[in-house]
């Protein structure tokens, strides 16, 4: 009994949980309005990430490559980087930000990114005296960290390079949601405005669920503007919701500009959402409105219909982004499920010291494992053993075959989710997210019972 935290021992990785750093940096970089990230590396590093984002969001995002070829591998890729910046500036007249994202190849070659950016800045000033284009160096070698760290690095680099002066108080709150879906972001906005707080989101990705319009205009882009980023130093505080994706940025604003950082648990489940709303109320001095008490009550009511009847004692394996996995493990316990296996897919040494994991270790009175630097084989190997009882998999689409092959019900959650329709539209965070997820889980169980003819008559009278 109890919770053990270990690390994958096998060298050879089988079925990765994460993409590499530049992927995460690219996702962060498209959250800014009028931004096209320029990835300094081979073309595949961009082409596949564009495809991956399209698979999840069913949208196209603009990302550029410096198209590194052999000559650059030998002589360095500076010229191509500079040409890339100028080409983007010339062809996209509204472009204001270019995150320059490195990859394994350009980090190994040792291209001087900061030096190139200085040269580009001069050239841009000369050719476009009336425009200001921000070039942000983002160092994300693929052989370090993962998409998670890449997201954090890009976010922090953007804040560091573009928010470089203390501005007058804006009366606004900075909100750092981490890597979430438009459905989550819309819900966060709802909570923040219900309490009466004016906020800026880093980054605002609501339009990653974007419409087809009668005039054929395209709205698929981030909404956070250059001005939003520059004014982050004037906010009355930062609400930061992802330990591994956003705490570094909010902490930077605190240490550099004395913007108080409220780095709190990711709001998955009821208790974590409560804590977030209480924090919002405390830092704004505004009460939590009755309407949110009603929303909360409806959520608990809905969960109560499900918990000890259908969810209790169900064992769960979770994998994906660390804040999601840990937060959902906490949620699982709230609805009486038993997280059995948590897979954290990169070698970040900080996971083992995560206070939420420490709290889980004290709480669980069943066998639970946390595997760091894990791959999906850690999951599959366990479920291949018939003695390993597992009732549910919570994770993204890349693990779908573990569920399919071994007949274990699975609910898709996290990035990327491309084998179930429309998941990006729904929240996982907050009260509504908790209900949506729990109902999704129970409905998945029901379908599974019906297909397997396993007590399917239970639902005749539910």
């Amino acid at each position: 009994m109890g919770c053990e935290i270990s690390t994958r021992k096998r060298t050879g990785l089988i079925n990765p949980i994460f993409d590499c750093q530049p992927a995460g940096a690219q996702f962060a970089g498209i959250g800014i309005k009028d931004s096209i990230p320029l990835v300094h590396g081979g073309q595949g590093c961009v082409m596949f990430v564009r495809l991956l984002l399209a698979q999840h969001y069913k949208e196209n995002f603009d990302l550029a490559s410096t198209s590194l070829h052999e000559d650059s591998a030998v002589f360095g890729g500076r010229k191509r980087l500079e040409e890339g910046v100028m080409t983007l500036a010339r062809r996209y007249p509204n472009l204001r930000v270019i995150p320059v994202i490195t990859t394994c190849s350009t980090e190994v070659i040792g291209d001087d990114i900061e030096g190139s950016i200085n040269l580009c800045n001069k050239a841009l000033k000369e050719e476009f005296p009336d425009r200001k284009i921000y070039l942000v160096p983002v160092h994300t070698p693929s052989f370090k960290s993962s998409q998670v760290g890449g997201y954090a690095t890009c976010l922090q680099s953007v804040i560091k390079s573009m928010c470089n002066a203390k501005v007058a108080p804006s009366g606004k709150l900075n909100v750092f949601p981490g890597w979430v879906n438009p459905g989550d972001l819309d819900l966060l906005k709802h909570y923040v405005s219900a309490i009466g707080i004016d906020a800026t989101y880093f980054f605002d990705t609501s339009d990653f669920d974007s419409p087809i319009m009668p005039d054929k205009s395209i709205h698929t882009h981030g909404r956070t503007t250059v001005e939003d980023i520059q004014r982050a130093s004037g906010a009355f505080g930062s609400l930061s919701l992802s330990r591994y994706e956003s705490f570094s940025a909010s902490t930077y604003l605190q240490s550099e500009f004395e913007v108080p950082a409220h780095n709190i648990n990711t709001p998955y489940g009821i208790a974590n959402t409560d804590a977030m709303l209480e924090t919002l109320s405390d830092i704004s001095g505004r009460p939590i409105p009755d309407s949110l008490v009603v929303e909360r009550g409806k959520a608990i009511d809905a969960l109560q219909d499900l918990a000890h009847m259908w969810l209790a004692d169900k064992t769960v394996a979770l994998y994906g982004h660390p804040d999601l996995v840990i937060g959902l493990a906490e949620f699982c316990i709230e609805v009486e499920m038993k997280p059995k296996l948590l897979l954290l897919g990169d070698d970040n040494g900080k996971y083992k010291r995560d206070p939420r994991l420490k709290a889980l270790q004290e709480k669980v009175d069943w066998d639970m494992e946390v595997v760091c630097n894990a791959d999906l084989w850690e999951l599959e190997k366990r479920v291949k053993d018939p003695a390993y009882k597992l009732d549910l998999i919570l994770g993204h689409s890349k693990g779908r075959y573990v569920s399919i092959e071994h007949g274990i019900p699975m609910v898709r959650v996290g990035f990327p989710s491309f084998d179930r329709a429309g998941l990006y539209r729904h929240p996982t965070m907050g009260y509504q997210g908790a209900v949506h997820l729990a109902e999704n889980i129970v409905n998945t169980f029901f379908t599974h019972m019906e297909i397997k003819k396993d007590r399917e008559w239970m639902m005749n009278v539910w």
Binding site: R10, T11, N15, I36, Q43, G44, N60, D62, L68, C104
Partner: protein, 472 residues
């Protein structure tokens, strides 16, 4: 002068050499678009890298082979679950990818030991799999890991395994195409001639350059079976590693995708004297022509005619039903390369569809020669087109449907244009007689979709309300 400088390319005028507008009476020997040339950085090209050309397109299709990618996780992650090529086995090739998961320390001190361990881990975890392809990636190539010697060591230590090495980092060449070449030539050099196949027919072929997208290979296999032709190796749709080591024993190489796999056919011709026969397997006329050519080669023409008659009887009525409804529709093709010349005339002859714009990510000039020869006048033929060029060409040509990848499909949907997956298909397979009816059906369903008509309506438009009308 058929080369066009598009408005969006005014600031990168070298793009003019890549955009060809076919004019009646021009000679393609004078003007071919430049192809297989470096991409302009920052142009938002569609191209991938040569590593993916080797792993994702060709090597990863083999159904009994561990895909070991020596590099950071991204290269493995991104070339896994990104293609629709099933097999008749347990779909091992779709389910698993392996990586040496290279970290900073290995970049500094070398990753050979890491690869050695990872290879052994993979064989240990999948004891029923005895074949492996090891791929290098950008960082492992840059730091100079000696992959071949690691492969040799593992091969010596494990008597029952065979391993192929592909040294094609992502920065090699200008596109996926380089990866096709490296894998093809490497395979002939290292692997062909090592396995003796069991010969069951006097008519033996290799089918080269088909990757079983949504079951294309299964579709073609029905025909070979009916004709009594034995396929020694299908390179690489639904293939086993060892099938492809026996390619030297076929009497004929039937080449579909001459871009990705023409290289291996040429080498087999040089080294083993196996003749090369290029065919098209998309389209009714083309498929019939392919069967006729192959049967003529073997002197079994009557079998071929019987098969063609049987297939026409089964499918021609359905095809014509769609043809009546699709004639005159406009189509754009934005895919890799060869599908441009495979499809343009096939859709015109079989379905009456006009292809008005085409872009190739990685075609070479010889491909464009074929594309332009088969294509219509007034059509755009673009090498390595980028996003702004797409918008401009779309506005000029106004296609009804675009055959392209899902991401570009997500883009054009905002412009109220339906797309059909030109790489992985919507509801394929698309090869063969039945397959082309599938393509016609998907095309038809895309054009008659009511949603995009609704999308154009602006509900804010001024209108007379019922209340007002009643008052009048």
């Amino acid at each position: 002068m058929p080369l066009v400088l598009l408005e969006c390319d005014k600031v990168i005028p070298e793009r003019e050499k890549h955009v060809y507008l076919k004019v009646e009476g021009e000679d393609t020997r004078d003007y071919l678009p430049v192809a297989n040339a470096p991409t302009i950085p920052g142009s938002l090209s569609e191209r991938g890298c040569s590593f993916c050309g080797a792993k994702l397109v060709i090597g990863g299709v083999l159904k009994d082979t561990i895909q070991m990618i020596h590099g950071p996780i991204g290269c493995a992650y991104n070339t896994w679950h990104t293609k629709r090529y099933p097999s008749d086995g347990d779909n091992f090739q779709l389910k698993y990818v392996m990586s040496s998961d290279m970290k900073e320390g290995h970049v500094v001190f070398g990753g050979d030991k890491r690869l050695y361990e990872a290879m052994n881990d993979a064989f240990n975890e999948f004891p029923h799999i005895k074949r492996m392809i090891v791929y290098t990636t950008c960082p492992t190539a840059l730091i100079g890991d000696d992959i071949k010697s690691t492969v040799k060591r593992v091969t010596q230590e494990r008597a029952d395994v065979d391993i192929f090495t592909v040294e094609c980092p992502g920065f090699a060449g200008v596109s996926q195409s380089k990866g096709h070449h490296v894998l093809n030539i490497g395979w002939v050099n290292d692997k062909v001639g090592q396995v003796e196949p069991e010969i069951t027919s006097e008519y033996t072929i290799n089918v080269i350059g088909d990757y079983n997208i949504q079951g294309d290979t299964f579709m073609l296999q029905q025909y070979w079976d009916k004709l009594g032709i034995q396929v020694i190796a299908h390179f690489t749709g639904n293939a086993k590693y060892d099938d492809c080591r026996a390619m030297h024993r076929a009497k004929l190489n039937v080449v579909n995708c001459a871009r990705s796999a023409g290289y291996i056919a040429n080498e087999l011709m040089k080294r083993y004297g196996i003749p090369r026969l290029d065919v098209d397997t998309w389209g009714f006329n083309y498929m019939a022509e392919a069967i006729r050519k192959i049967c003529t080669f073997f002197g079994i023409e009557e079998r071929g005619e019987a098969l063609i008659a049987e297939e026409y009887a089964k499918w021609e009525g359905k095809l014509n039903w769609y043809k009546e409804r699709l004639a005159g529709k406009k189509m754009a093709v934005w895919t890799g390369g060869p599908r441009l010349w495979h499809w343009t005339k096939a859709v015109e002859d079989d379905l009456g569809i006009n292809v008005v714009a085409m872009s190739s990510k990685f075609g070479h000039q010889e491909d464009f020669e074929k594309i332009i020869a088969r294509g219509r006048a007034g059509t755009f033929y673009i090498d390595d087109a980028n996003e702004l060029e797409f918008y401009e060409v779309l506005a000029r040509t106004k296609p009804d449907v675009i055959f392209t990848g899902p991401r570009v499909g997500d883009l054009v949907k905002k412009l109220h244009i339906p797309y059909i997956n030109g790489h992985g298909y919507h509801n394929g397979p698309y090869m063969g007689f039945e397959g082309f009816v599938n393509l016609a059906r998907d095309f038809y369903n895309a054009t008659r979709n009511p949603l995009l008509g609704l999308a154009a309506k602006d509900i804010r438009a001024p209108r007379r309300s019922a209340v007002l009308e009643a008052a009048e």
